[in-house]
């Protein structure tokens, strides 16, 4: 019987670092988006140059966030990748399927408010979280 401890690869600490980095990118993108959305009205009185700079910053940080997400997913092990990608696929599918009827309902006044893209983002985020939690629970 072998009582030796197995070799360590530091998977948990690597994922922890990677998760923190991804959270930082998400926070940065949220801040850049808030700056782009509210800056023209509250900070620089709709000056075009500043608005364009804010848009450029938002896109640049968005690209960084996408790359950080890709790196994060590639760092996950095969089961966690499966759970994450399943949740992403469901969220994208729900977003795609919901967007067209929602847009039509907005155009023909079926819903009493303006059909806004932020509602779809919220729906997709919520779907992703629920799907991810379900996947994690299923393989717990």
């Amino acid at each position: 019987m072998n009582q030796l401890k197995p070799p360590q690869n530091g998977y948990q600490s690597r994922i922890r670092t990677s998760t923190i980095r991804l959270a930082q990118w998400n926070g940065a993108w949220l801040a850049a988006t808030a700056l782009m959305a509210f800056g023209p009205k509250f900070l620089w009185n709709k000056t075009l140059v500043f608005t364009l700079l804010a848009v450029g910053l938002d896109v640049a940080v968005g690209v960084g966030m996408i790359l950080a997400t890709k790196k994060y997913i590639l760092g996950l092990d095969e089961l966690q990748q499966k759970v994450y990608l399943n949740a992403l696929a469901i969220a994208v599918g729900v977003g795609l399927i919901a967007s067209v009827p929602y847009s039509v309902m907005g155009s023909y006044g079926v819903i009493p408010f303006k059909a806004d893209v932020s509602h779809l983002i919220m729906l997709m985020s919520l779907t992703f979280v629920v799907s991810f939690l379900y996947g994690t629970w299923r393989y717990r």
């Binding site: 030796l4 197995p6 360590q8 948990q12 092990d77 966690q80």
Partner: protein, 78 residues
Amino acid sequence: MKNRLKVLRAERDWTQAQLADALDVSRQTINAIETGKFDPSLPLAFRAARLFALRIEEIFHDEDRSSLATEIKKDTYA
């Protein structure tokens, strides 16, 4: 697919977390494999085989194939 991962781990007195770290996966993945909820990829099966110094088929085996082998044995010795 069935496997002997839990038995091999217990023989060495390793925790799921220790085995997970040795195979560079999460503890959840080890638990899912041990309980038969998730089948590992070939590279992960090879890593497990190397870690335990065994052949892959000594750790993992196909359930259908095992029952087929049992049937053949039964027929042979009937």
